[in-house]
């Protein structure tokens, strides 16, 4: 489904962030990348998601293939179109939007019916989020906003999710479920 081959990433033309990274991810698999700060985990995510230009970086060498298609220098719009959604590190929500609006933004490709169904599914899974669906997301508790970052990429029905940092900080109640 996703294969990264011998990837080389450079920021500002001089800062070498990745060199010779390869990775193979099949259908239904989950892969965790572990490493200290500065190891290049985020750079790999940015490279795969096509976000490097926004960080003054670029892929110098190597290939990214997504669903069997060459995706190395595609723009983010095309890449998410192929079914990959990146969840960025830090607070993943749009703080000034409500949870509902966050889901609308995430599901911008969906038809109104699909969007409605997706939203119902998300809110069924996270009732706490439903209670506060019209409040600005910036005021949600840390746990709730983590929940929604989990809920988020599921709404455009992507086939591959990709976190820059794992959704730690889920409320305990959620793990028990």
């Amino acid at each position: 489904m996703l294969s990264v081959e011998n990837l080389k990433v450079v920021y500002r033309g001089v800062i070498l962030a990745l060199d010779g990274v390869s990775l193979e991810l099949g259908d239904g698999e989950a892969v965790a990348l572990l490493g200290p700060n500065g190891a290049g985990k985020s750079s790999l995510v940015r490279a795969v998601a096509g976000l490097l230009p926004k960080f003054e970086g670029r892929v110098l060498d190597g290939h990214v293939r997504l669903m069997g298609q060459e995706a190395t220098h595609l723009d983010p719009v095309r890449i998410t179109g192929l079914g990959l959604t990146a969840v960025l590190e830090g607070r993943p929500l749009f703080r000034y939007l409500t949870p509902v609006e966050n889901l609308v933004a995430a599901g911008h490709r969906l038809s109104p019916q699909e969007l409605k169904a997706g939203m119902e599914e998300v809110f069924a899974r996270f009732p706490r989020l439903y209670e506060r669906r019209h409040e600005q997301a910036g005021y949600l508790s840390g746990g709730s906003s983590r929940c929604s970052s989990w809920a988020w990429p599921s709404s455009p029905a992507p086939r591959c999710w990709w976190w820059t940092s794992p959704p730690w900080g889920f409320p305990p109640s959620w793990w028990r479920r």
Binding site: F94, Y96, H108
Partner: protein, 291 residues
């Protein structure tokens, strides 16, 4: 009171145009963080476009014809001047819009000449007498066009899918990109809308007072209005437009005899007060901070 009402009506008529112009200005600021110093020239170009179309079309049609062209003009400016500089130093983008303003000033004078021109044709007369007060056709037209358009845009921004995407991008462009939102296309659209609003304001001004280079000074009022309303508040811009229009009318009526020329300075006095007392403006949002 009765002798003040005509001033107030005139002030609100002006305020409607301030509101329209500031709405586009703030929309662009919120979505792209660019302070567009060429907004006065957008208005100028819009007015001249209307003038040109009015040479061979009835005036209402001329205005309608100028609007799509203005939208296109906004797209071009975004593509040519803004997008290549986005993400760079904020000052670089601001300097670019100042340069653009100067270039547009020159281009307009080259194409249309320096002298004041008057539109051929006029809008249907909608002026009426309400009791002792005469409501001018200009006031009716300004309010009739600016209010529904402004409120409609606000509604779109709040409720429509497109509006939600604009707000998402304005908060965090990278996150929006990561979700596959076509940010470049949407931001270009925002510039287009801003140019369209400026053109409508320019056309309505031109109807009232002709087309000349001094229209740019009307454009300068957009800064006080935007700061009064809150630089990041689109609704505040519309409200502050009317407010400033009304304040100017008040000053014209009651302060002008005491302090001749004060009305000219009033908007900027208001800016100073706002910045001192309430720097985020009437409806501007305070940042959500989380540690």
């Amino acid at each position: 009171m009765a002798d003040f009402l005509p001033y107030l009506i005139g002030g609100l008529a002006n305020g409607a145009l301030y509101g329209l112009l500031a709405l586009g200005f703030v929309l662009v600021y919120r979505a792209t963080s660019v302070v567009n110093f060429a907004i006065g020239e957008f208005l100028l170009v819009g007015a001249y476009l209307t003038y040109t179309f009015a040479l061979f079309l009835p005036l209402p049609l001329a205005i309608l014809a100028a609007l799509p062209l203005a939208f296109l003009f906004g797209l071009l400016v975004e593509r040519g001047f803004v997008r290549p500089l986005l993400g760079r130093n904020v000052v670089a983008v601001i300097m670019a819009t100042i340069g653009l303003a100067a270039a547009l000033d020159g281009a307009v004078q080259l194409i249309w000449g320096p002298d004041l021109k008057y539109l051929s044709g006029s809008l249907p007369n909608l002026g009426f007498q309400a009791g002792e007060v005469f409501v001018s056709s200009r006031a009716v037209w300004n309010l009739l066009l600016a209010l529904p358009l402004g409120l409609g845009l606000l509604w779109l921004l709040r409720r429509s899918r497109y509006g939600i995407l604009v707000r998402a991008i304005s908060e965090r462009e990278v996150a929006a990109l990561a979700l596959g939102i076509p940010t470049a296309r949407i931001l270009a659209g925002v510039w287009g809308v801003s140019a369209l609003l400026a053109t409508l304001a320019g056309a309505l001004l031109a109807v009232a007072s002709g087309v000349g280079h001094n229209l740019v000074f009307f454009g300068l009022k957009v800064f006080p209005v935007a700061i009064l309303g809150g630089l990041d508040s689109v609704g505040g811009a519309l409200l502050a437009g009317f407010l400033l229009g009304a304040l100017e009318a008040l000053s014209q009526r009651y302060l002008e005899p005491l302090l001749p020329g004060f009305t000219e300075a009033l908007p900027f006095v208001v800016v100073l007060l706002v910045l001192l007392v309430r720097p985020y403006g009437l409806l501007g949002e305070r940042q959500i901070e989380r540690v």
